[in-house]
């Protein structure tokens, strides 16, 4: 197995905001809003400074919790690590295959059947054709959706849809897992089944980074914590210390 590693060195991320007459939207003088990154304007171009001078290293076997209020930059940081966002400055280097447990199934049409979803993700993740049947069997068994997989997603209940997406999100073994918010889905019985599946998957993961507001979830999987505020790393250390730091008033 690859010795996984993730290193961010002085990473900045400015997300441009496009809106007609955008200047009028920004009142001066600027105040730092209690949530979110700084809104800056540079020669009429507005951007949100989502991450500022973020540096940290993760070695193989480390499980990191991202802690911070809404808009602190947790999801953005996950997107930088997964390669979805390019850093505006600084360096991001990641060794190991990445699995993202967020936004799966977003944007796909509800007209697609369960089987088509499975085929779609199978193709997207570039898996060999011979493995498709194994994947279908695995997901059919895990989701217990049976014949429903032949029907369009629009006929599914919320819970059924969640089952399918949860199964797809966890169908492939990866070396690094990035998880955003809760990873639970469906009814109580399915929750147990799902958490067993996640545990099996995460046991073999070299690196794990979870962004969440739930201390229980973070305590369950993580040993270290990173506190983000306004896109800046305020502290990184053992999980309990990170929670204490986060709870402290400014």
């Amino acid at each position: 197995m690859t010795q996984c590693r993730a290193e961010l060195r002085n990473v900045y991320l400015n997300i441009p905001v496009f809106a007609p007459n955008q200047m009028r939207l920004i009142r001066k003088p600027q105040f730092l809003s209690p949530v979110g990154g700084n809104i800056n304007d540079n020669k009429g171009k507005v951007h949100i400074q989502a991450l500022r001078n973020v540096s940290f290293e993760l070695e193989h076997g480390e499980h990191l919790a991202l802690i911070g209020h809404n808009g602190a930059g947790k999801s953005t940081l996950l997107k930088i690590i997964s390669g979805i966002y390019p850093p505006s400055a600084g360096e991001v280097s990641v060794r190991g295959s990445i699995g993202c447990l967020f936004d799966i199934g977003a944007g796909l049409t509800p007209e697609m059947t369960g089987h088509e979803y499975i085929k779609f993700y199978h193709a997207v993740y570039s898996n060999p054709n011979e493995l498709l049947q194994d994947l279908i069997e695995d997901i059919t068994e895990f989701t217990e959706l049976g014949n429903y997989l032949e029907l369009p997603i629009r006929t599914y209940s919320e819970g059924m849809r969640a089952r399918l997406m949860a199964a797809l999100a966890t169908a492939w073994r990866r070396e690094i897992f990035l998880i955003d918010e809760g990873i639970g889905a469906g009814d109580a019985a399915f929750q147990i089944k799902f958490s067993q599946r996640v545990n099996a998957l995460l046991e073999s993961a070299g690196l794990l980074i979870i962004a969440s507001h739930s201390p229980e979830l973070l305590r369950k999987y993580c040993t270290r914590g990173l506190v983000l505020k306004h896109g800046e790393v305020r502290m990184i250390g053992p999980l309990d210390e990170a929670f204490d730091f986060y709870a402290r008033p400014d």
């Binding site: 979805i84 977003a106 049409t109 570039s126 898996n127 492939w172």
Partner: protein
Amino acid sequence: MNIARLASNHPTSNWLRLLPSSILALCEAPLRNPRLWTSLAWMDIVQNYRRTMLGPAWITVNLIIFTIAMTLVYGALFSVPTREYAAFLVCGMIGWFWVAAMLQEVGNTFLSYSHFIKSTSINKAFFIWVAVFKQTIILAHHMVVYAALVIFGVIPFTVYSFAFIPVIVVLFLISIPLTAIVSILFARYRDLSRLVSSLIIVLMMITPIFWQPGMLTGWRLKFVHLNPFYYIIEFIRTPLLGKPLDPTVVAVVLGMGIFFWVVGAEVYRRYQKYVVFWL
């Protein structure tokens, strides 16, 4: 759960290394994994026609309806024999559908996969190849009408008709960088798609699709000769009509192709990473 396998990272093969890095960025991943873009394109076409009785056969039916109506009216207006006009119109329309898609539909490539681009780190070049391959599938559906007209003897099939095979290959290759340019521009400048949709009808009318280029004389001929779309239409239409390709048309199309690759590959290399911010 023993299905986990990782996509293997192939080392770049030697012949690909000879290409400049900008061109490589646009075609290396799709060439390594053709199954992804071909199957995504087909799934997309099937999705579009979901819950219809005919499914993607509607693409063929659309062209049939259009040809019948236009032949009856315009053939008479221009006093061209019906069979001759039908042949000219169908072959021209097959070309026009491609050109129109390159200006309009492919521009929405990144926009229609936006959720995907925002949630996975999948190489965006795949979506460009998906868009172009979708047009190839649509063209194949249009070719059914062409084949029927050949069988009924409306369109002559000659030795020159075989030129259509390399024409399609060239067309596909030219369309990759063009799609990269158009889809990046459309993602960044939202006014563009509105502008193009208002111009596209005008463009269709001033390009010789319904009328023969020979019908114009004097300075008006410039509408034909300075219109780049005329050359692409002609490039597709001539072999379909079983006539020899004009070397000027081939030269102009190949020239445009080189231009698109130089510009498109560079535009893609430079700007593809920012696309996620524009969606």
